[in-house]
Symmetry: C5
Subunit: 354 residues, 5 copies
């Protein structure tokens, strides 16, 4: 988590609006994919330069420009120039440490989201920033890497499946947001499985490893929470906001997205509570096991120490010890020892210590 913050400091002292890419450079090539569509028309293009997008800008169709890779600062600057975007908006695109947020620049909305993925081996949540610019004519989406998560949407547009071809860019933006949030359910699912595994482990054989697993999951959930909590405001801001860029029929879909966001947050909170309950079980398991160990020690010691004393007594070298002379002395000692041991065992069993 802290490693994410580290790179930020290189910006200190720079004038605001300076574009400095913050985040890992995750891809070499920056890919531009342009799709123009209306109810009846469809056009698709892989572009090399920003300039190739410009013809699409003036057409009456809905234009979706998708950019994979935000580390080429000059390209982002060009887009800013051509589409007349505020320098701070551009800064937020290249600085991939943003919180999810929505900003209203009157003729366009700027939305920052987090695409999350879960690395099961390290129990770590990986985040990728997705920035959307929504105007009345186009949607521009920025991703850090080439990802195929938006492919089903492209496919639907191509084939004219669903409502997307009949609606404006606000519906397209909704579809993109919906896809990102749907993905969170995949992560919750995996986390849920991990949690069930731990529950299992806690009953059968909890180890120090289990504790570290619980801690790692707790950390992952903290991270998840940090990325998803602000989304609530973002989506409700879109749904209830005053921006005319969001048309009335689309708002009902955004309400649906809002419901999903709340559901994700609910589940995260439930997981948190479950993990803290597990910690209690873990700690009490340790105590219980210690208890068991102590009992074994106590029982052994309590039975054998008195017997050892008896043996010690008849190992004394006093000249006048009448028992030593008795011919049945030795078997008698064995009997006494047996009696003491057995009565001890019975006592422990009665006390439920055995």
């Amino acid at each position: 988590m802290s490693s994410l913050i580290r790179k930020r400091t290189q910006k200190i002292g720079q004038p605001p609006g300076t574009l400095v890419h913050i985040g890992a450079k995750k891809t070499d090539k920056v890919g531009i994919r342009i799709i123009g569509y209306s109810d009846t028309q469809f056009q698709e293009k892989e572009a090399e330069t920003v300039e190739e997008c410009l013809p699409f800008k003036d057409k009456p169709t809905v234009t979706w420009i998708n950019i994979d890779g935000v580390h080429q600062v000059e390209m982002i600057e060009k887009i800013g120039k051509y589409f007349d975007l505020h320098p701070l908006l551009l800064e937020d695109i290249v600085n991939t440490e943003q919180r999810p947020k929505m900003e209203d620049f009157e003729d366009h909305l700027f939305i920052v989201l987090k695409m999350l993925s879960y690395r099961e081996e390290e129990n770590e949540i990986m985040a990728e920033q997705i920035s959307l610019i929504l105007s009345s004519e186009y949607v521009i989406s920025f991703q850090e890497t080439v990802q195929d998560v938006f492919n089903p949407i492209r496919e639907r547009i191509r084939k004219g499946k669903g409502r997307v071809r009949k609606r404006g860019p606000d519906y397209l933006a909704y579809t993109l947001i919906d896809t990102v949030i749907d993905n969170y359910f995949v992560i919750l699912e995996k986390l849920g499985e991990k949690i069930e595994d731990i529950e299992e482990e806690l009953v059968t054989d909890p180890t120090q490893e289990t504790l570290h697993l619980i801690y790692d999951l707790k950390k992952a959930i903290l991270f998840l929470r940090k990325s998803i909590w602000p989304l609530r405001e973002v989506v409700s801001g879109l749904e209830r906001g005053e921006s005319e860029l969001i048309q009335e029929p689309t708002r009902i879909y955004l309400r649906d997205v809002y419901d999903h966001t709340i559901q994700v947050i609910d589940t995260i909170e439930t997981f948190r509570d479950m993990l803290s309950g597990m910690l209690d079980i873990y700690l009490s398991s340790i105590s219980n096991r210690m208890n068991e160990v102590m009992k074994v020690l106590t029982i052994i010691a309590t039975i054998f120490i008195p017997l050892t004393l008896i043996a010690g007594i008849y190992g004394m070298n006093f000249r006048y010890m009448p028992e030593l002379e008795w011919s049945w002395g030795y078997p008698m000692v064995w009997l006494i020892m047996l009696a003491v041991g057995v009565s001890m065992l019975i006592y422990f069993r009665r006390k439920k210590m055995l």
Copy 2:
């Protein structure tokens, strides 16, 4: 809990409004029961197809259509077409993972509730989704399985008992919601009994099993909370909302339902606090028991180890050990041992360790 989330992911990538049934398929047959009534009239019918409902739609009576089973997506789609319902509404009916919610579609209200039941053996809460559509003329209710929970209401309508025959569909919807919430008290009751059992167990004989029971109850209460908290908003939204579908005299009844909801939530919170108090008692019981074990060990060891030393000393083989020659040496050692042991016991009793 996480198993509920799992199935959701099959929907990812689908266009919104696609009807995919999410949840266990709990029944084979889908049953449709139609009741039409007014103050003076009454008609009841078991239908096979959606089309059979249509004649009821246009009559001046209040129509209640109850559908058991939401996995037949085509049937839901047909209902949507005939009653002019929004695709997202239909999607929410078949996706049984919704949070309780209320949505206002102007000419009809859409309400999602959770019918809960408690499986005592597994300490698990089972949830079934109940969706209601309330218009000025009809109420459509969707259940996942055939349940007899609404039977008393049917009986009351048939016999003209209570106010229900004299009122509109809003009163019918209220009655259904009231029945669902009344059912929560049954669960709280059972949970309350379990909690009392655990309290008993904690005093008499707490085991690792008790701890797991506390954790299971905690989980059940988490689940209950997740299902009931949003209800507060739903009911208060109905009561204070602007929808003209809810008539003034019915609002006073909804206020009553609201009171019950708050009461349920209050009790859930109290249970949570009690369970966390129980955990503290459990943990301290373990500590106490360990303490007891340790005391036994300590007392035995502390008494017998010095005695063993004495025996050891007179077991040494030094040529010149005057005591060994004394004729009263051996009984003296016995006396010394007795004295040491008894004074130890007295010491421990004084220190309140015995």
Copy 3:
């Protein structure tokens, strides 16, 4: 607590507004006491039937009808009929599991309160429901049992002491509420004493019993909280509400009641925090005591085990053990043992273990 919920379930399936008495039947006879008063007039009567109240209803005096016992459902129904009360209001009177609440029925206000008492032996809070109906002409109060808690008010009315005779029914209602809330201070006082006792016990001699006491008090405070928290809204609703039944000069008195309510809630929260602090002390006391026990064991074992080894060594039967032949061998061993033991003791004292 859960036992309170249990009886509720007998109502499930009944049409709303059905009067079913929920709660223990605490008295046999239902007593009706009627007081009519104005600045100059005063009349008092013990009635047998509801009908005897009716003449009072139409007089210009303030009428106070007090009913002890709410289990005779027919009587409550009659009152409802004569005074034109809503069926849900009547239902709330006989269902003694209500939360404190205030409902405005325009020409009358309905107020539910909890009269609490504390059984010191069981550390349990007992609750009795008090319902008030305030109109512009009368106050009707319902209690579960015959209680003398309102006697001082009756006495004041009879003797014309205080302001009550000069004011309307709103002031009478205020006086009743004030009396109920004043009673909470008695309970807080007793709980405060118990808490001080536990504090004392924690310092001198905490036992498993102390823990259960802490838990019982915690439960009592949970119950208290549940009964008193909603009162805040009730009183502030009366004070700031729009109802014309509350006259301006009475509002200032209600503000005073509000202050008391907040004070009670504050104290409850403080008690909660103190109890949780006590739990920490208790748990650490157990740990400390275990520590003490362990120390005794460790010191004894650590001193005697090496000595036993020495004795063991000179108990060996080797033919050639020069020390055994020395005439000062035996006393030397004693000296060695003494030296080892004393240096051990010094070591422990230095390590602050003794």
Copy 4:
């Protein structure tokens, strides 16, 4: 804390507005000090009776009447009569268990504050109630005892230092409130020192005593919080309130007081968090120390028990034990014992147990 509540119950059953002094009678003599001042005039007087205040009331100067001691109920009643104060206001003055609050009686404001002091030996916060009445012409202040905390203000008025002589009674009231709140910093300071002492103690030598100290401080901070939290509302009510008694230029000073109040509350919360952190350290210190004790025991036992066995073996009396006859048998046993002991020590050191 609970002792404060106790006395309250003597009021139960009394009509509201009955003046009953609640609180310890802290002084015998009731002192009245009157100061009248304007920009140019100044007059000061020690009065014996309330009547002596009356001439001041009608003068154009600002009048400050300070009353030390509120247990003489008749005197308070007289003041109420002369200055036309509401009976509930008078009741609040003599009942010294009020929460801090501000009430607006249109032509005068009533403010209740808590003057706090900290008894370091008992770790207890002592509270004294200060009531202020602010009208457009005078300020009346009530204290429980003779205190010199307002002396610097008197001095400033006498000498005409600062702004106080040039302003109205609202500024005087502000000065009094400011002085009370400034005093809280003294307490925070002392608590801060105590906390630092405990921090020190926790590192060097935590005892059961430390725990009780932490608990006492926690209780003191709970009490502090209870007395200071409501102040926030009081001061912000004065600053932002609609009362015309507070003039515009004084509001800016009240904003300053508000800032101080927030600062005090912030610090209290920080102390709370620090104390809970300390508790964790304390508990883990106990665990650690137990660990140390256990280690000593384990190491000693583990080293000496095997050696004792060896000695025991060669103490057996078998007729045929070849080792016993060897002339180097005895030294060999010593060597074996040494070897076993040393290798054990090495083993423990490797395992980081030593």
Copy 5:
């Protein structure tokens, strides 16, 4: 922390608005640096006296006066006189214990910030107060010491880099605030590294030292929180406030600062949660280690105590002990001991205790 509060008390009893420097005197020389600039002009000067600033005041350029050192109360008073500042504002400048805040004096805004730095060795956060006065013509900034943190801004103004030369004083104020908040990321980074170090340590070798480190970090984060939380309101007050001193285009930059503030607060909360998770791991590590120690003791004792008994038995001096005479008695005892020991080991291995 408490040491910060201590010095405050010297002010008690002083009339409000009295300038008393509270805080460490961190520098001797008080430095005044004046910069005047517009889009085309630039002038810079190191001043000795406040009077030298006055010519700048009346010029049409933006004037930035930076004062290093606030302990020379007379100088601050002079500035107050020349620039017509409220005495309470001046008091807040010299009292360096302020919370971050923003106050609107109509023709100027007063902003208090905290410049923080982190001393890694002591794990302590050091705070320095930065006060800003923003009017329509000038910005005055007060620092406690000479710091070079604002140098990059000066450099940018000198060279005309960035937007700063083209904008008014509100943009300059924004730049100063932005610089302060950017600095918080440096601290978060360092804290993040520390936290990662502790995570590492917890896995490998947690000691009592680790616990104290966790506590110190927790304290540092408490302090950080106390200094940064109020900032949220400050920045949002500037952004959304009604002051005309902040021009519209600057508000968008302040929104950006607001985002950063939220990000800092988010990270602080995450750190808090992580630290509390670490504490759990630490405590359970101690328990685990104790468990390990106990196991070693138990195993050793349980194996050797029975063997010692056997040796003790054959060390008894009974005249008639047949085994002693057997020629294979001694090796048989060895075999028995071996058998007992090995079977014990197997038993423990099966029980997973080894």
